[in-house]
Amino acid sequence: MALIAIIVLVVVLSKNVVYFRTVSEAVAERPSDGDRRIRLAGEVVPGSVTETRNGVRFDVTDGKKTVEVVHRGDPPNLFKAGAPVVCEGRWDRGARFDSDRILIKHGSEYEPPDVDSERASAGRVAA
Amino acid sequence: MTDAGFVIAGWALTGGALGAYTIHLAVRLRRARRSLPESGAAPSR
């Protein structure tokens, strides 16, 4: 019984408790979202980060779509080019995203700094 | 607080919590044992 329940729960909810939206989803849903507060998740595009007077401006991408984000306030410590981020805020009247809160969404991989490049070519290093 | 500060706080907290719980259990066990009728005392409330 509980097992069936859990399976149905997965099917029903797999797409519905959405903590964040990917960049392409957010772009697709922009007309209906209006100025609602949403969370946008993607990677910081390297080379796009510039400091502004009261924060940073950068591009986030999910590989398909890219959006320009203007953030007010200090970004967190781990914010850097390539970092996976969740930006909280609302759409500007243009195609920009005004964010006032950035969280780092960390992945499930752990590795020491030196294997970084090695892993990229060799694939996953199983423990 | 730096990263190291968070790490040390977390580990200290882990040790503290486990230690405190162990001591808490030991105290309660001791009290329960002392109230056993074998020691001649009446059970306390």
């Binding site: 019984m1 729960l9 029903v12 909810l13 519905n16 | -």
Partner: protein, 224 residues
């Protein structure tokens, strides 16, 4: 007697008691309305916030009222050795559970109609999809009532019942609160299609806890 007839018998008994004593009508219902009013007072400074948080406030009010209704449903069994009567009646445990849960559901539905009207009038909300609102409310209520009945009997006959039931019940019904709130957000002003999966979750929860309750109720009633 079939399970359903037995269940209706128990539900009818509880509802008749409520109809005569009017505790739900004169105590629980005003309590729910006062909760809604207090929220409105507390959030008044930020106008425009009320319509947005209306679904959440409505369901919190319903939940608080549910605690009272559950407490009441088992208080009536505690008087005049009524529980012994129920035990000796030879009714199936599952049927007794079902009956009590149905009675609580009906009481809560009456309560929700009044509170829903209150939200509509006080909080200035727009109704998007009436069907979604009604169905998700029914499913959520059935789930909450089933859970409440199960935990009510778990705590039945104890001196600490009044405080124990909320402590046990609130975490368990937290997912129902979430689902019902999201479904109502979708039904009030949002996109109704977002709400139907939540209705599915609520229905699932109701079925799950009704089944658990029907299985567990008999043995629990015997020992309470």
């Amino acid at each position: 007697m079939s399970l359903w007839r037995e269940a209706w018998l128990v539900a009818g008994k509880d509802l008749r008691i409520e109809a005569r004593s009017r505790v739900i009508l004169y105590q629980v219902l005003p309590f729910g309305v006062v909760v809604l009013l207090l929220f409105a007072f507390a959030l008044d400074p930020s106008r425009g916030l009320l319509p947005r948080v209306a679904p959440g406030l409505f369901w919190v009010a319903v939940l608080l009222a549910t605690l009272l209704a559950v407490s009441r449903a088992f208080a009536i069994e505690a008087q005049n050795a009524a529980r012994d009567g129920l035990r000796l009646s030879g009714l199936d445990g599952g049927a007794v559970f079902l009956g009590k849960a149905i009675a609580i559901t009906i009481e809560l539905v009456v309560l929700e109609v009044v509170l829903g009207a209150g939200v509509f009038l006080l909080y200035d909300v727009e109704v998007g999809s009436v069907g979604l609102l009604v169905l998700s409310a029914l499913a959520a209520t059935a789930g909450v009532a089933a859970t409440g009945t199960l935990y009510g009997v778990l705590a039945a006959g104890l001196r600490v019942r009044e405080t124990l039931v909320p402590a046990l019940l609130l975490p368990v019904v937290a997912p129902v609160m979430l689902g019902a709130t999201r479904a109502w957000e979708a039904g009030l002003g949002g996109t109704p299609s977002d709400g139907w999966p939540w209705f599915g979750l609520l229905a699932l929860f109701a079925v799950l806890y009704t089944s658990i309750g029907m299985l567990a109720f008999g043995p629990l009633l015997e020992e309470a």
